[in-house]
Every structure is written in C-alpha cells, then in structure tokens.
C-alpha cells in the first residue's frame, strides 16, 4: 500500500540479547571464512585444507604454539596499555611509538650496562622502558590538558619521531662494529635476555599480570572511576571536583609506560635486539584488539590470541601452500573486516521496503 517508501532504511535496535549478539558474531566469522575460502579457491587451493593447515601451524605443534604465544604477548600488552586511554576517550594511537621508545631505553641498558647481574639489569631495563614509554605518552597528554591539542594527530606524529630516533641510533651511535658494514644493532648479551618459562620468555606472565591488574584498576579503583567519568564528560568530571588535566596526564603516563614495557619484552624476550620492526605495527593492531574486546582486558586475551593464530597461521600457509604473503594478509583482513562490520548489525537493523513489519526482529 505504501507506494514510494525508501528502498531500505536503517533503524536503531532496542536492547539485543547476548545470545543473539553472539549468533550475529558467529555468523560473521562463518561468512568471513566463506569469503576467504573463495579467494583461496581462486588461488587454486582447497579452502578446507588451507584452513586446517593454518590451525595446525598455529596450534598443532609445540613450536607453533610457542610462536603463537610469543606473538600474543606484545598484542595483549599494547592492548592493555591502550585500554585506560580509550576508556578516557583519549584516542592514543601512539602505542607504536611508545613501544619503540620503551625498547630503545631498555636497549641502552641491554647494550651498555651488561656488567650488572641479570636480575638487576632486567629490572633496570624494565624501569627504563616504563619511564621512556610513559614520557612518550605524557607529552601529548600534557599538550592536550593545557592547550587542547588534538591527541590523535599528536600521538601519531610521535610514532614517526620514535622511529626516526631508532633509525638514527641504528645507523650511528649504536651501530654494531662487528656488523660488517650493515647498519644493525648488536644482539643483547645473555644476561640482558628474559628467561624462559614453559618455553616462552617470561613476558607472557608479565602481560597476564598487567591484564588482571588493568581489569581491577578500571573496574574497581577510584582512579579507574575517574577515568570513566572524564571519558564520558569532562564537564561532569569538573562538576564532581576532579582535576581533569591531572587525570589525563596520569592516565597517559600509565598507558605509555605499559606500552614501553611491551617494547622491552619484545626486545629482550623475542628479538634480543632493537630494530625498526620492534614495534612492527603491534601498536596499531592492538587498537583493533582493544576495540573488539570492548576495552575489557580479559576479553583482550582471547582476541589477541585469535589474531596471533591468524598471523602464525598465515605464515604457515605461505610456506606450505606457497600462498603469497599479500594473499595471506588479505585473508586476515577479510576476517577482521567481518568481525568489525558485524558490530554494526548488532546495533542497527535494516528494514527493506515493503517488509516493514517482518523486518522487525526480536
């Protein structure tokens, strides 16, 4: 009877049940696997075999599993670091740079203070990384608190400065004299390397502790409450008598410090050196992790692990099926796209012309 209704309309959903939201997410992953399967088929492979190989490569063997856990550590560390900043609606996309300066500070001790006993040296590296990362987070926070600068651009640009610093050190003062002319930084001495627990460097325990601590901090502490209030409305925070600039700076120092420590874990636990790839995009992927987890640190563990499986898995199929790296990345991208995209359908429903009533879901 309605003649010229618009073709389709988008309407906000009321509350959606947890089960239904889960169903939409499951459907999204299934759809992603199907779409990815089409690409694999286009490349001339059997999708089922490729997916099975990805799973086997990431989880099936001890070495594979260890590698996957090793990839999870920095992702989880950086995601936990971002959580308080994002909770405050401070869009810190500078975890990448904060990781790197943390790694740089740790590397200084790892290269030049090796006379220290191992524990003392590792503690010094840990603290240096925390302070350096913290300061790298504090700078944009202070500018935002005092002059209202845009934190997104500011933190983004600090990433490039951190990268430039690393390259300067690698090509100049810290260049390995035994590197036969290659501009690389020397490998850390034995006592500057993190010990292993169950086959993976001890960093995995450290990030798990951070994860639980962050969960408690955000949910049960006074400072966590302040962060949530500032994030919702600065005017409300001022009304409540909170010192908003102080809270912004404190939170960003904390966020940067954890990122910095993550950099230390990568340098001293996984790579045993510093290079331009120490952060390697972790700081950006961590944003996806934090966001998909709804800023809940515990859920971040699962998301980070899942992304690590994808990464390790796509490395595996590159060698076993000779699938090019770019195609493996497309596969990962498709899965992420569907996972992020389905959040839209959890919040909204689409009503198609003529089906006004039947489109109303419960």
């Amino acid at each position: 009877m309605e003649h010229k209704q618009p073709l389709f309309r988008i309407a906000k959903r009321g509350d959606i049940s947890k089960g239904r939201a889960l169903m939409i997410r499951a459907a999204a992953i299934l759809l992603a696997l199907c779409t990815g399967g089409l690409i694999v088929m286009a490349l001339g492979h059997n999708p089922m075999a490729v997916y099975a190989d990805m799973a086997r490569g990431a989880l099936g063997t001890h070495t594979g599993l260890r590698e996957t856990v090793k990839l999870t550590v920095p992702l989880l560390g950086a995601a936990v670091a971002i959580a308080p900043a994002f909770k405050m609606k401070f869009w810190n996309i500078g975890a990448e740079g904060q990781i790197l300066v943390g790694a740089i500070a740790a590397t200084y001790f790892g290269l030049y203070q090796v006379h220290l006993p191992q524990t003392a040296l590792l503690v010094a590296m840990f603290l240096a990384a925390a302070v350096a990362g913290g300061v790298w987070g504090l700078i944009p926070a202070a500018f935002k608190a005092k002059w209202g600068t845009n934190e997104t651009l500011f933190t983004l640009m600090l990433n490039y400065i951190a990268l430039g610093m690393e390259q300067y050190l690698q090509n100049g003062p810290w260049k390995d004299p035994k590197g036969t002319g290659f501009p690389i930084i020397a490998m850390f001495a034995k006592n500057a390397r993190l010990p292993k627990v169950l086959g993976v460097h001890v960093g995995w325990i450290i990030v798990l502790v951070f994860m639980v601590a962050m969960f408690v901090y955000l949910r049960y502490s006074k400072q966590g409450y302040e962060i949530a209030v500032v994030g919702e409305s600065e005017r409300t925070a001022r009304y409540a008598g909170m010192n908003v600039p102080h809270i912004i700076m404190r939170t960003m120092f904390l966020s940067g410090a954890i990122s910095g420590i993550t950099g230390f874990l990568v340098a001293a636990g996984a790579d045993y050196t510093l290079n331009a790839n120490t952060a390697g995009g972790t700081g950006f992927t961590a944003i996806t992790v934090a966001w998909l987890a709804g800023l809940n640190p515990i859920i971040m563990l699962f998301i980070a692990f899942f992304l690590a499986i994808l990464e390790k898995g796509s490395n595996t199929i590159q060698t076993s099926f000779k699938i090019p790296a770019s195609a493996a990345e497309v596969l990962t991208g498709i899965i992420l796209f569907f996972m992020l995209g389905c959040e839209f359908f959890i919040r909204y429903r689409v009503i198609i012309r003529g089906k006004g009533e039947s489109g109303h879901e419960h």
């Binding site: 309605e2 010229k4 618009p6 959903r13 409450y225 005017r235 409300t236 009304y239 006004g356 009533e357």
Partner: protein, 519 residues
C-alpha cells in the same frame, strides 16, 4: 474528504528501538485554524510533527495533505507540500544575514537579486506584522528576532501549513503576545497552524482546537472554548490533578550567601555577569528569572566554583550569624574540591543533567558516588554506600529503573531528574542550587521536585531556583531575582509581584543595550 482539511493523519505509528513514540495516531488540521498539540514531554508531539516535516519516516500509517495521500521522505518533500516547521532549536547560520538565511538552500542560478529578496521579505513582514531587518546578521539578533527569521523563512518558501515546536519557551510574556498576534494574522489568511506546547494558558489563549497526546497515544481533540486548563490536564496526565504549588512561610531566614559585584567574562570576551549582587537566605527559596542566557548558568557555576569570576561570594556558615562569621567565607577563587574541603556543602542541580550533573552512560550506583567517591579506601572505590543510596532514592522518590546499574541515559527525563536531585539532597547541603529542575518533566514529577525543594527550604537550606516558567516562579519562590543581560534588574517579592512586572524586568536593560523593538 473535506477540502478544508489541510492535513489528515491516519494511524501513524513510529517506533525507536523498543519505544513506541507514536501509536496509531489520527488527527486532522483545518485551514484557517490554530491547533494546539498538547502533551507532556515524551508524549510524542515532536516525533509526530517531525514526520510531517520529513525528518522521520513513519513505520506505518497514511498522511493526507489537501485530501491527497502523500509520502514525505525529506524536508524538501515537506516544503513542496507547503509544510514548514519552526524547530525549538533554531537552524540558522550565525554569520549570515536574515535575508541570506531565508533564501539559503533554495534553487536558483547566478547572482542573488538582493533587492527582490528584500522586497519579498518586507511584503511578508507587512502582511503578518513582523518586524525584521533583512540585512542584520543572525549573531546580532535577540532570540525572538531569530525566531522571526525562522518563521519568515518558512513563509518565504510558500508554506501554508506551519508547525511551531514550543515557540514560546524562549520568549518573554511580551514577545509571546506579539508572536500570537502574528499567528492570528496568519490564521486569518487561511493558513493552518500547529503549535506544540505544554503551557496550558497559552493553549487557552491562542488556539481554536486542542489535540492531546499521552505516552505516544492520541487521546482526543477538543474545541478550546469547550474546555478549561483542568480538563486539559486530565486528558494530558490521565487523571485529575491539583495545580497549586505549596509555599510555606519562611521561618527566621538567615543570610547564607552574600554575592557582591560578581562579574564574569566568558571565553569569547562577552561579559555574561555584570556586577551582580544579591543575598540568598537559608529557609527561603530565591527564584532566578530571566530570558534564557541572561547569566543564570554562569551565576550558578560561579557559586559552585566552576566559573572564573571577579567579585565576592561570601558564605555564612553559622545559623545565628555570630561575630565570628560576620565576614563570611570567600568562595571566589576556590574550585569545587576546595569548597568541599572547607566543609561547605553546596548542592547543585545543573541545567545540563546528563552532560554535567550525571554521567549518562553509568548506572545509578556509579552516579551516586560522583561527588563522594574519594571517601574510604585509598585506592579502591567502595560501591556499597552509593548502592544503598541508589536503592533509597529509588524507593523514596519512586524512580522507575530496571536496575541500579542501568545507564541513567535510558531513564525518562523525570527519573533522571529524581536521581540527580535525590543525590544532591542526600549530601545534606546548606545551599541548594537548581537550574531549570522541572524542564522536560511531566506534571507529576514536577510536583515531586517542588515538594523536595520546599522540604529543603523548611530544613533551613538556602534554595536557589532558576526557572523559566513565570507562573511557577511566582507560586513557588519567596523572592525572585531578575536577571537581564547579566545584570540584576531587580528583586521582586514572590507573593506580590505580577507576571507582567517580572516580564518587564526581564527586558529592562534590553531597551538600552540592543534596539529591542519597544516591548
């Protein structure tokens, strides 16, 4: 279909998520009449009208304009059908002139023919009795002038069905009178006018018929001369109510706050408070009246320690006003924390409830601890006392909420206000400032708020009530401070002053400052 029907709505339904904003509403508007659309906030008036003006699209139902069924998908469709809406919040470009705003968005090629536009605007103005200067920029205009621009804009586009959403909310009584005479001229010209309002005396004064909505449902349409405010209230609320507000006699009021020479210059360099001086007494409700934006907000925020100001705000703690407190405690220069640390309990119900007084995304418990979370354990927040307070407030003020952890933004306006007022009163204040505490509330909730304020007054609290409805101010307050353009234009006795007196005081300094059109 009778040709005299300008608009006919049939079974219009609109839902947002699970909320049914309009439930099968049918009503007609005739040419040459003023129809009041009456209902409490949240009853669906604005939603219904937004479907006529093309902002929303109905889920189901039919709309007839001039007897023909139509589909309105966009504001442009609405314009083409001759429907124009004047929104509560004006949609004008500040840096453009009145004329530029009026023609903005109209099709046309080449340079503007400013002369022809100006001629057309003055023709419309003369016809209906507007006063408008086409070449004035919007930012130089008073609120009532902006509203005039909005109305002319709609008429310029040839609208013969006008919808006005709470047009008098921002006007003084004198300006309201003027608007009504313009509306009557338009009606005489055969235009159909719908005015959305919840002010009963205006309904009685200006409209021919009244259509009443309640909770999204259509209750009925009555001829204005066949009804009275009490009957209309019954239709609106669904049961009979008494419309009198209590005003207990103040018992031995003592000076609590003495404000002297308070001056505030805002970020844009505008003086928003200009040497304001007054005294607020414990055991009394001091009303603050004025056109919106006359400095009310800054005044409250200054007292609360949120607004940098010069001058003095002296607080007198002792009940008997002994020598020790003769000088009072200076509050200017102290932030909310510092004031609290002096042991002074100022309660403040700000105008912007969800953007300042409460955290919209948090539940009641977390909102209860907003001003008290620092107590207890040095690191962890104790949520037990706030949860108990939330439960007490739910019980005593009859707050409707599924749970203490449901985000307060999901509560209705009345419940949000009960949560905020409840928390502020629970802090045991000696000064209570409430800015527009009943704005957007239904009649029942409004009376609960008046009652709570009166109880605080009887406890000896100095209550500041910033209001916009002069009828309420005159019924509730002991004294009324009238602000105009950031200056105090007088303090009136709430028991003897009349609405006209207050209305004149609200515009008093306007006459010298701007070239107000002789109110």
């Amino acid at each position: 279909m009778e040709p005299s029907n300008a608009i006919e709505l049939k079974d219009i339904t609109k839902t947002f998520g699970e909320v049914v904003a309009n439930d099968k509403i049918s009503l007609t508007v005739r040419r040459g009449e003023i129809l009041s659309l009456l209902g409490e906030n949240g009853s669906g008036k604005t939603t219904l009208m937004n479907m006529l003006s093309g902002i929303y699209f109905p889920d189901s139902g039919q709309i007839f304009v001039g007897g023909k069924e139509v589909t309105i998908r966009s504001p442009r469709d609405a314009y083409e059908l001759g429907i124009g809406m004047i929104h509560q919040h004006f949609k004008l470009v500040d840096v453009l002139t009145a004329a530029e705003n009026i023609i903005l968005g109209l099709p046309g090629k080449g340079p503007l023919d400013r002369k022809a536009i100006a001629t057309e605007i003055s023709r419309i103005s003369r016809k209906y009795g507007f006063e408008i200067d086409p070449n004035r920029k919007i930012y130089e205009m008073a609120v009532s002038e902006k509203q005039t621009v909005e109305i002319v804009k709609v008429l310029y586009r040839g609208a013969d069905i006008l919808i006005l959403d709470e047009p008098t909310a921002v006007l003084t009584p004198q300006e309201t009178e003027k608007l009504f005479s313009v509306l009557r001229n338009m009606k005489a010209d055969g235009k159909a006018i719908i005015i959305i309002t919840h002010k009963l005396h205006e309904v009685m004064e200006v409209s021919d018929r009244v259509a009443v909505l309640r909770k999204g449902a259509y209750i009925g349409t009555v001829d204005t001369d066949q009804t009275d405010p009490l009957k209309l209230t019954e239709m609106m609320v669904g049961r009979s109510v008494s419309l009198n507000i209590d005003r207990p006699e103040p018992k031995e009021p003592v000076d609590r706050l003495r404000v002297e020479d308070l001056t505030c210059v805002n970020d844009e360099g505008v003086t928003v408070l200009d040497h304001v001086s007054f005294t607020a007494r414990g055991g009394e409700i001091l009303g603050v009246a004025g056109i919106a934006g006359s400095g009310q907000k800054e005044l409250c925020e200054a007292v609360a320690g949120l607004q940098p100001v010069t001058g003095h705000i002296r607080y007198f703690p002792s009940e008997d006003g002994t020598a020790a407190s003769a000088e009072g405690i200076e509050l200017v220069g102290r932030d909310p924390m510092a004031i609290r640390q002096l042991g002074i309990s100022l309660a403040f119900v700000p105008e912007d409830r969800l953007g300042m007084g409460l955290v919209a995304g948090m539940g009641m418990t977390d909102n209860m601890m907003l001003r008290s979370y620092r107590r207890g354990h040095p690191f962890l927040a104790d949520r037990k006392p706030p949860r108990e307070l939330a439960e007490t407030i739910i019980r005593e003020l009859e707050v409707v909420t599924p749970d203490v952890s449901t985000p307060v933004r999901r509560l209705s306006g009345g419940n949000v206000q009960k949560v905020l007022v409840g928390r502020e009163i629970a802090s045991g204040p000696s000064v209570l400032m409430a800015a527009y505490p009943v704005r957007g509330l239904d009649i029942n909730s409004s009376y609960i708020i008046y009652h709570l304020l009166n109880k605080q007054k009887q406890r000896g609290v100095a209550v500041l009530y910033v209001g916009e409805d002069l009828d309420v101010l005159l019924e509730l307050c002991d004294r009324i401070l009238v602000l105009c353009g950031g200056k105090v234009s007088g303090v009136a006795d709430g028991r003897t002053a009349t609405k006209e007196q207050i209305g004149l005081m609200m515009t008093r300094t306007d006459a010298e400052g701007r070239n107000g059109h002789g109110a």
